[in-house]
């Protein structure tokens, strides 16, 4: 799997390169600003670009903008944005851009190497990876008297993992449940929230997020 990496802090860039190479990714370019990212993506057409949201020269959200610009030119490249902080509005922008192949994670998650590598693979394969913090922000927006209150605590856990972009198998593993049990919870949640059963994990994520963002 071929990766382009954009991170301006040398320490983190080298660390990430090492971590990805150790896990059998081919890092074809590691750059430190937005323009270089766009050039590298156009040149290498990688499976995924892992991008720090804050890059020179202004250290605002150049990484996000550059990643969206790069994908405009090379639509097959998936984007995983990593950041020291998350803002649910940015997640909405990333997801609105196109179906699938997007991720938005706190840099903290990189420490859980196994989960982080899973997320990179999932996004590169056209899936979604949303940080639990973003999902928590979206849950916080919902009023107390809404339909979310009708979910059992277990169903809320499942819903949060669905919103993060995990598959049923991934949810089952995270909650130590059988896949069958997870499927039952999912059906029950979709019923209680009036959401249609949609094919594909990514469309399911979009439906759940659209619901949470209402």
């Amino acid at each position: 799997m071929r990766v382009v990496l954009a991170e301006d802090l040398t320490l983190l860039r080298e660390g990430l390169v090492r971590l990805l190479r150790d896990n059998d990714f081919e890092v074809v370019a590691a750059v430190s600003d937005g323009d270089a990212l766009v050039r590298a993506v156009v040149e290498h057409e990688p499976d995924i670009a892992v991008v720090d949201i804050r890059l020179p020269p202004d250290f605002r959200d150049e990484g996000l903008r550059a990643a969206l610009a790069a994908r405009e030119r090379v639509p097959k490249t998936a984007i995983l944005v990593v950041s020291q902080y998350v803002e649910h509005a940015y997640a909405a922008e990333l997801l609105a851009d196109r179906g699938g192949g997007v991720g938005y994670l706190l840099k903290d998650r990189i420490m859980h190497v196994g989960e982080f590598v899973d997320a990179v693979r999932r996004v590169a394969a056209g899936g979604t990876a949303l940080d639990p913090e973003v999902v928590a922000q979206l849950f916080a927006r919902r009023r107390e008297d809404g339909p979310l209150e009708r979910l059992t605590p277990r169903e809320r856990e499942v819903l949060a993992l669905m919103a993060e972009g995990r598959s049923n198998a991934g949810i089952a593993e995270a909650l130590v449940l059988s896949v069958g049990a997870v499927e039952k919870h999912v059906q029950s949640i979709l019923g209680k929230l009036d959401l249609l059963q949609s094919a594909g994990d990514h469309r399911r994520v979009l439906a759940v997020l659209a619901y949470l963002q209402q």
């Binding site: 804050r54 020291q84 509005a89 903290d108 420490m111 922000q137 009023r143």
Partner: protein
């Protein structure tokens, strides 16, 4: 900290700023004048003038009727009409000065001087009226006109030579000195708090993390991989906690979304995460300066936090508009009120706003609602 002197300076600051920004609504704060009443009462005052004018006219008409009915001899009603007209003229002039402050808001003039000039002219006309009604003769009204006129000239020269600009500048210096001291205090307090948070939080966690890693190294040397593994996950948990604390700290200093997307996006983000129902309406046009955005953001954040924590509010409205070169921000909740305007949080915000030459008002009667109103120059 709000000593009387401080409060005074603050009041002066608000007055002089108002004058700079909206000359129509304000009065001078010069030493020879006092602030004439203005604002919502002006319509009832307008009505008062109309009643006065009608009463004067009816009185005159009645007297003339009586005079005509009683044989229309010597025109005696003039002796009643002249003084009532004199009173009406002064009343109308003072009203006019209220409505059109531009008449007297100019260099070396103030409200009192303008009133005096009107009284002088009315008195002159009144005296000429009496002189004419009494059959003319030697033109004596010139003497009171000269005497009163001399008084006005003295008044005007006092205003001219004491130079109100110097006066205003010294007031301005007072205001700047005190707001700067407030801002420096607030800044100092904030830096101390950040230092404490870093010392007790992230730094301590990094020390613990280093110790866990060192011990894990030992366990590996001792060939106890199970123990080493335990220590390593402890270290990772410590690193995550340190990151979380640093993130919260950074957000408290300057939230990233504010720098990235500006005031409206940042305040909406706050509103989204609030347990209350928060409506945000902003119409700002171009982005104001970073310091202004940041002050407005922290006022909104504090207002929301107070509304949730102390006021038990359910709904909050945050409105921001730009009026000319002034950013006007208002945060209104439906809580129980009783906020302490001199509490630490609001005091710090006030200093922050005043350091930018802004004004900060808290209205929070017991029983609510609470409103925070902030005006920040953003030319």
């Amino acid at each position: 900290m709000a000593s009387p002197r401080w409060r005074d300076a603050r009041k002066r600051a608000t007055l002089s700023r108002q004058r700079m920004a909206t000359p129509i609504d304000s009065a001078p704060e010069g030493f020879l004048s006092e602030k004439p009443p203005s604002g919502p009462r002006s319509t009832s005052q307008e009505r008062g003038l109309a009643v006065h004018a009608w009463a004067t006219a009816l009185n005159a008409a009645a007297l003339i009727l009586i005079w005509a009915a009683s044989g229309a001899g010597d025109f005696w009603p003039i002796w009643a009409i002249l003084p009532t007209a004199f009173a009406l003229a002064i009343h109308a002039w003072v009203r006019l000065l209220h409505r059109r402050p531009e008449i007297w808001q100019r260099p070396h003039v103030n409200f009192a001087l303008a009133v005096e000039a009107g009284v002088w002219l009315s008195l002159l006309l009144f005296n000429i009226g009496i002189w004419a009604a009494a059959g003319g003769g030697s033109f004596w009204p010139v003497w009171p006109a000269i005497a009163f006129g001399l008084g006005i000239v003295i008044h005007a020269s006092v205003i001219f030579f004491t130079d109100p600009t110097t006066q205003q500048m010294s007031e301005r210096i007072d205001v700047l000195t005190s707001t700067r001291a407030g801002a420096v205090d607030a800044q100092e307090e904030k830096l101390r708090r950040i230092e404490r948070d870093l010392h007790d939080g992230a730094q301590a966690r990094l020390v613990a993390l280093g110790m866990s890693l060192g011990m894990a190294e030992q366990k590996l040397d001792d060939a106890e991989p199970g123990k080493a593994r335990e220590l390593l996950s402890e270290a990772r948990a410590g690193a995550e906690q340190a990151l979380r604390e640093l993130r919260d700290l950074a957000r408290g200093i300057h939230p990233p979304v504010l720098a990235d997307r500006g005031l409206e996006a940042a305040v909406r983000s706050l509103a989204d995460l609030s347990p209350m129902q928060v409506s945000v309406a902003m119409d700002l046009g171009a982005r104001p300066a970073a310091a202004v955005e940041s002050a407005a953001y922290f006022v909104s954040a504090e207002g929301l936090a107070n509304a949730a924590k102390h006021a038990c509010a359910e709904h909050v409205q945050i409105r921001a508009t730009r009026r000319g070169t002034i950013l006007h921000l208002e945060i209104i909740d439906d809580g129980i009120g009783g906020a302490d305007a001199d509490g630490r949080g609001l005091r710090g915000l006030r200093s922050r706003v005043e350091a930018l030459d802004g004004s900060f008002r808290v209205l929070s009667p017991a029983g609510g609602p609470t409103s925070l109103t902030v005006e920040l120059p953003c030319g």
